[in-house]
């Protein structure tokens, strides 16, 4: 009971989704429990940087505030198969160990699928971007503050006037 309580206290929220932290945070391991992927703490923080380059903090929260990179990892780990896992890990290698300037450059290049980049790099980035956006738009933060999702609309108007065309 106590242990469960303890875990509850350290739930990590990725865009509003509760994630269990890894029980034994061995030196150098990712901070959430993953079943299939082996992600190091260094990789994790690089993913956080990439996500922030995709959706930065402005006057509203960005990817790091919402832990969107953890959302990406969670979805990748649970909802995709070994092939996608390999592709992701393979592509991620090319983003590791870069300083912030080179990382920003690679992200920009990968985003436009610049000629010369490896297939894996581009596929990794596509996935990373897709799920970061997905996590953002489906986050509690965005759904309750920015693009509001209603549980109960209680109405339907099929001829709703668009304010200014």
């Amino acid at each position: 009971m106590n242990r469960r309580f303890a875990i509850k206290q350290v739930l990590i929220f990725a865009g509003g989704m509760a994630l269990l932290p890894s029980c034994f945070r061995e030196g150098g391991k990712v901070s959430i429990q993953l079943k299939n992927l082996d992600i190091s703490a260094a990789q994790e923080s690089q993913l956080a940087e990439i996500a922030e380059l995709i959706i930065p903090k402005t006057d509203t929260s960005g990817a790091k505030d919402l832990n969107l990179h953890l959302y990406v990892l969670k979805m990748l780990d649970d909802c995709f198969g070994p092939e996608r896992h390999q592709q992701f890990m393979g592509g991620l290698k090319n983003f590791e160990g870069l300083d912030s300037k080179s990382l920003a450059q690679l992200v920009t290049d990968a985003n436009t699928a610049k000629a010369g980049l490896s297939e894996e790099t581009i596929e990794f980035f596509k996935f990373m971007k897709w799920k970061t956006i997905d996590g953002y738009l489906n986050s509690k933060y965005v759904m309750s503050n920015l693009v509001i999702w209603e549980l109960v609309p209680g109405r339907y108007n099929g001829f709703f006037r668009v304010k200014s065309a």
């Binding site: 380059l53 909802c79 738009l137 693009v147 999702w149 209680g154 099929g158 668009v162």
Partner: protein, 571 residues
Amino acid sequence: MSNLNIDSIKEHTYDAIVIGSGISGGWAAKEFTEKGLKTLVLERGKDVKHIIDYPTTNKYPYEFEHRGEPTFAIREANPVVSKCYAFREDAMDFFVKDQEHPYVQEKPFDWIRGYQVGGKSLLWARQTQRWSDLDFEGPLRDDFAVDWPIRYKDLDSWYTYVEQFAGISGNKDGLASLPDGDFLPAFPLNAVEDYFRNTMRDKYIGRHVISARCAHLSQPKQIHFDQGRAKCQNRTLCQRGCPFGGYFSSNSSTLPWAEKTGNLTLRPFSVVESIIYDEKLGKASGVRVIDTNTKEVREYFAKVIFVNAAAINTNLILLNSTSSRFPNGLGNDSGSLGKYVAFHNYSARIGAEYDGLKEFTTDGRNPAGGGYIPRFRNLLKQETNFKRGYAAGFSAYRNTERDTSGLGTALKAQLLSKNLGPWQVGSHMMGETIPKESNYVKLHADKKDAWGVPLLKISVDYDDNDAKMKKDYLEQLTEMFTEAGFKNIQVNDGGQAPGLDIHEMGGARMGHDPKTSVLNKWNQLHDCKNVFVTDGACMTSTSTQNPSLTYMALTARAVDYAVLSMKKGDL
């Protein structure tokens, strides 16, 4: 059996037994209990109590572990049910998982099931149209299957009866192919759906676009409040179970009503293995049930038995009910039991964009889903190279335009933009398929399920008629979309296997002649009069309309007949 020593037969005896608590079983339960019969409803799955057992009903999208998406492991383990559009995190527990209840696909057949109190009535898309004589006269006119032993006039008042209680929204459209019902106000078409309706009316004779008719309380009446239900709040999260009782399900409507009479006994976790035939009495005396928790075998007895296990399972139960009188399955003197299974062809869709009417969008949600195009092919006479025809869904919607090509602050601004894109329009076909002897279900010779019941083999496929019909649908809808000025038309002939339409029918069809059919015009086994089948197994042909409203009407009618017969001492 073993239990009979302990529990007296009397304790296990009811006036009526209903097998299955889904859409049709719920109606049988309501009708019997209201007429004062002590009724036992046997349900193989768990209990699902209205509101209490809808665990996801008030969740926000971000409260689902994977934002609604089934995990890779779940999809791998459940390749069949994963194909169903509604098999998502919010309603996954109301679907049967492939491995828990295997069956043998002699040909690919995506059998989608809901095993719990309420059956698939929790999950259905609630589209409800009456059938007309153009459907009931179909087999006779177009020479297939056997003649239906009933006509529209036999069901008209029963449709009204069930519509009033269930609550069906729709317009009186005055169409011969789709008789009007006793409706609550329809959910209106939106700007582009309405535009398409008007365009079709002007450019074609006999092609209509109407508001989809659906089992939602758009404006509840006293009878609905009496059931404890309230106005539909347009949440469109219905498959989770609706806390308002806004849509019709057995759980929100018929079963609680039956319970209030004090005549209902509902037993979840009870798989009916077979129906017991009493050679001396010359009729069925009860059912044999396996408790899914204890695997204990029990027998229950009644004067009349309604089989409402959903079409294919009803076939299984009847086929598995053998005796020296019925070595090939209960009521199977004709040898047609399990055959002439048919379904709806949902395998094609078409989408496009519309540049006009940009001054409008929609606000809120439409639980009816949009518009409905009733069948227009071969309606009054045979005029194409295929038999019968198709109905179609039609809907239009506008999304916010989200350009995701950029990065950083530019991307962020795009994601939060409220600019609307063009209208998107879409349609899917709902084709009638022809019942054939070669489309059948059978018991497996030796493979059994966890309760010792033989597994089912399913051998059901499309044919050439379906292919021609699909081609015609795509051609005609392309033409209609073009006429309406829709752009960027995309057709998709999907290639999905039969079954995914979830409108499987037949196997114990109704007919005049006991030599070629299993049930008579009262849904009664020709050869065992106190057993009735009023779910999809009874259907002689499939029409293009959704089937469940017709199961409800047939059920209420058959119970009425059964009770009258019992009073007369005929059963």
